[in-house]
Symmetry: C2
Subunit: 317 residues, 2 copies
């Protein structure tokens, strides 16, 4: 298996996940268009099965396994949405899902993983601890690792968003996704550019976890960033293959402050009427913070998830 998917892999993924995934709607809003000075087409992956785009990649990975592999289950580490997605995807095939979760993950997301039938394994909130615990579970159960982003099957699954969005809104000029580990950003960039090479591609990253922006600027993967952001879905360091894809597809990464992301989240709730996570709102924050880059353009805006703790909204923090 190659480190990066191509457009055929994305097309195969689309066929594989079609029986299980939701074709999410694209919403428009006049107030937000006026604020942005652009035509915004919001791809609502908060309405995806499990409340986040992650189901696409997880589902593609689960249904890419042979029957023999599948019988031993799957394992991953995730701060929440990918774990939930993998548990849901495993349930569609009737196999076990082990999810390693760092201390400090959002409780609502852990509850969802358990409800979906996933087995939780807790670890310290570091990349090293996650990977060690994951390896241990893998050794014990023989489960197949489905990495949250540095996995070609996962990237191909996330890339199906671009296929779907460009079918729903063919005439886009630009497309923006959040950037965490880079599974979504890489998959979407590869698929979008295969279909529309002239499309301008953007990523939005929290300033407190700006390793992708730094890595692209430095020309090499910067691993020294200690994530410090409310955007819990975007704390992961960008993966090595993911970074390579962002570079190859000339994705421009825009950083936003947590305050900008929270303000954009409120706008998405109050105007678009969508419950989205603060990580999701980074894309609107980036557009509003850099109006020159988007003015007058038709922009596809991927809203990644809506799994929020309604008792801990960031504007009350």
């Amino acid at each position: 298996m190659s480190a990066l998917p191509d457009i055929d892999a994305v097309r195969d993924a689309a066929a594989r996940i079609a029986p299980y995934a939701t074709v999410t709607p694209v919403l428009r809003n006049a107030t937000l268009d006026a604020l942005a000075g652009a035509e915004l087409h919001f791809k609502c992956e908060n309405l995806q099965h499990g409340g986040a785009f992650k189901f696409r990649g997880a589902c593609n990975a689960v249904w890419s396994l042979t029957d023999e592999e599948a019988a031993r289950g799957v394992v991953t580490h995730s701060s929440g949405n990918h774990g939930n997605a993998l548990a849901l995807a495993a349930a569609t095939r009737g196999i076990a899902a082990h999810v390693v979760v760092p201390e400090g993950a959002v409780q609502a997301k852990l509850d969802a993983i358990a409800r979906a039938g996933g087995t939780l394994h807790r670890c310290a909130p570091s990349q090293a601890a996650r990977e060690a615990m994951c390896a241990e579970v893998q050794a014990r159960t023989g489960a197949a690792l489905v990495h949250p982003y540095a996995d070609a099957r996962v990237m191909a699954g996330q890339g199906t968003i671009a296929l779907e969005l460009l079918r729903q809104v063919p005439a886009l000029d630009a497309l923006i996704t959040p950037v965490g580990g880079g599974g979504l950003a890489a998959g979407v960039a590869i698929a979008a550019h295969a279909l529309r090479p002239e499309l301008a591609l953007f990523g939005a990253e929290p300033a407190g976890a700006d390793d992708a922006a730094r890595s692209l600027a430095a020309g090499t993967r910067v691993t020294s960033v200690a994530p410090d952001t409310l955007c819990d879905g975007l704390r992961a360091l960008v993966g090595e293959p993911n970074l390579a894809a962002l570079r190859a597809q000339r994705v421009e990464v825009i950083t936003v402050s947590d305050a900008e992301a929270i303000a954009a989240m409120r706008l998405l709730w109050s105007e678009l009427k969508q419950v989205v996570e603060v990580s999701s709102a980074t894309v609107l924050a980036a557009i509003l913070g850099q109006p020159g880059r988007f003015a007058g353009r038709r922009v596809g805006v991927v809203l990644t998830g809506g799994n929020v703790d309604l008792d801990a909204l960031p504007w009350f923090a």
Copy 2:
């Protein structure tokens, strides 16, 4: 003009508002289906222009005026969403909108009316005070009154929801809307039964403003109910023609407590990822509170609006 619209009036309304209104999506959710033991099809009027279904009726009324009538503007009284809708509808025709608002209306809704270009006129929070102020503005300006619900043009506009929903989901068994003044409930009932006479029709009403339920039980309009509910969109007494329509169409009204409505609102936010008002959530509360009536059925559920003060969420009250 007759007191109640017929299906032709609803079809005319659909054609009249088509250039301005949004064809709102219908959303499904596996978790809510499982909770309800039914197949729920949520018609998302929180995604309508102005954030509520009210735009349909207001827009139909505004575009039903002759040029001469329209030149003198329109006037109404409204606790919020209808006023906002009328201001937005008036703006589509470039005419003035006067909105009489009771003290205590939700600030976010008043702000929206002003932003839409409406002129606010404040009055005491009683039906009598609203009507007196409305009459005064009407006498002074010559503006045409567009009553929020006891108006055949408004009911016809709201009824377009049923046309649209039955086109999107033809095989419904039942349909439920909230009941306030009854403009939505009457318009939808008339249109739905004209197309599908066997459809079971339900209304959801807050127990603290249960005048429609009492009126249907008593066989005569009960006007003694003093509204005491958080559901600010449903405090109006059901109109005389509206009640006649509910009776003629055999709409069964189910009452729910404010606590049940708040719990259902949280479910719609956390599971369906839709920002909806507590008034909107009465429909899900009614379904969950009366499972026997809906079990195993395909139910159209009208979510009426999403204009919420994000700083004053009811589960923090």
